[in-house]
């Protein structure tokens, strides 16, 4: 298994710190917003689609 996430230098077996968690969540959100914008959907509409 690839145990390293290149962008944050995070190890698979180590718990995330508060700041790492914040960074990773922000980065996930940015990607989702961009993906949603490519699909002509509002970000909220995409993220909550189906829920």
């Amino acid at each position: 298994m690839n145990n390293r996430t290149p962008l944050f230098g995070i190890q698979w077996n180590e718990p995330l710190s508060f700041w790492q968690t914040t960074w990773i969540l922000t980065w996930i959100l940015i990607k989702l917003v961009l993906v949603a914008s490519m699909m002509n959907l509002g970000p909220g509409e995409f993220i909550y689609a189906g829920f």
Partner: protein, 399 residues
């Protein structure tokens, strides 16, 4: 990729993840197999799921009987039985690749044998012989008949052969790794690990829907389609294919990690490869490993044992042509694709000869030679890949 913008897919994936968190005494492969059939039924309809299960049941029955029959038999019987099964699979694969279900063949077949319901039979065969199911089936025959690995029950086997999160484009999962789920199931990811996996999945979606689609829209317009009229187009196609395929693979792998179902890695910085041989260990890795396990290594071993190690390089020319010829034909049954594979094989055999000289001259010990290789290697590899994509582009996007 349409599957990944279907909200139903994500709801099902989340439900399967939560259900797999409950610890029960049942085997991990069986639990995943059960949920997988349910997921297939919701996503593709219960008729398709039932057909998939019937196919797996039939295949399991044949393998089960064969194993009983082969118990304590001579290895030649194993070889005969194994090849007979692979031949049968190849026949179904051939039907699929001829696209008979799309042509006038269906109406001719319907007139000749209406009782066979070719309108249902041919699409069914085409679905079963979907390329990834075919290669997994070949791997299964190799492992169960030749290597005498245990045969899973039909429900668990459906989880190996037709896993719903690897439905669109693989990767080619490994049977021995799937078996390992039972004696040593991977622990469920903790909250930090779930976040890492979600990061991987969203990166996959970003690759596909932002970068790959962005490239397509930039070069060919919003409703535009790929056309490969020049080497530049071919270069764009290669980069697009990377982000599309690697993106998909990341999503599938991320979901597999959440489920604890072995889902191999498929890409590892292929544009940093220093040779074409290196490239094929970094691009569609799971397919490369499949060919190595099931075709290259057994064939090369037998050949070199026969002709001697001094003629190993010559033997490798033949093995490479056969192995990559297969990869070519797996993409599409055509002479162009076979030639594409055979030429790739030849090129890699030539690289092998060159590498032999580099080792002889001690260039592997020289930092300067290594530096040059790291700079010039990727340029050479990218050029080869662009030319090879141009060569088969008409097959991918017919004019």
């Amino acid at each position: 990729m349409v599957l990944f913008i279907n909200p139903a897919f994500w709801i099902i994936a989340a439900a399967v993840y939560l259900l797999l968190l409950f610890e029960t005494p049942r085997r991990a492969t069986l639990r995943f197999g059960l949920f997988n059939i349910a997921a297939l039924a919701i996503l593709l309809g219960w008729k398709v799921a039932a057909a998939v299960f019937l196919f797996v049941l039939l295949f399991w029955g044949v393998l089960y009987r064969l194993r009983l029959w082969l118990r304590g038999s001579h290895w030649k019987a194993d070889t005969g039985a194994g090849f007979a099964l692979i031949l049968m699979l190849a026949l179904v694969f051939w039907v699929h690749k001829l696209n008979l279900e799309d042509g006038a063949f269906v109406s001719r077949f319907s007139q000749a044998a209406p009782w066979a319901r070719p309108d249902l039979l041919l699409p069914f065969l085409a679905m079963l012989s979907f390329s990834y199911i075919f290669v997994r089936s070949v791997e299964l025959v190799h492992c169960v008949i030749w290597k005498r690995m245990p045969l899973l029950d039909p429900v668990s086997l459906a989880g190996y052969l037709v896993p719903f999160h690897m439905l669109v484009a693989g990767p080619v999962n490994i049977y021995s790794e799937h078996l390992e789920m039972d004696p040593s199931p991977p622990p469920a990811p903790n909250s930090s690990q779930v976040l890492i996996v979600l990061n991987e999945i969203t990166t996959g979606l970003f690759y596909k829907f932002v970068i790959a689609e962005g490239i397509r829209i930039y070069f060919y317009g919003l409703e535009g389609h790929f056309t490969v009229a020049s080497l530049f187009d071919s270069g764009v196609l290669v980069v697009y294919t990377f982000f599309d395929f690697a993106g998909y693979s990341r999503v599938a792998r991320g979901i597999g990690r959440l489920f604890g179902v072995p889902t191999p890695e498929n890409f590892s910085a292929p544009f940093r490869s220093t040779s074409v041989t290196d490239f094929w260990t970094r691009w569609h890795i799971s397919m490369g490993l499949f060919v190595r396990r099931n075709l290259f290594t057994p064939l090369q071993l037998q050949l070199v044992r026969k002709v001697g190690i001094r003629r190993a390089a010559w033997a490798s020319v033949l093995t490479m042509i056969v192995s990559f010829g297969f990869v070519g034909l797996w993409h599409r049954l055509s002479w162009t694709w076979f030639l594409w594979g055979a030429l790739m094989g030849l090129l890699m055999a030539a690289e092998k000869t060159a590498q032999g000289y580099f080792l002889k001259w001690g260039w592997n010990q020289s930092p300067r030679a290594q530096f040059c290789l790291r700079i010039l290697g990727p340029v050479y590899v990218f050029s080869v890949v662009i030319v090879s994509a141009y060569f088969v582009a008409n097959e991918i996007f017919p004019a």
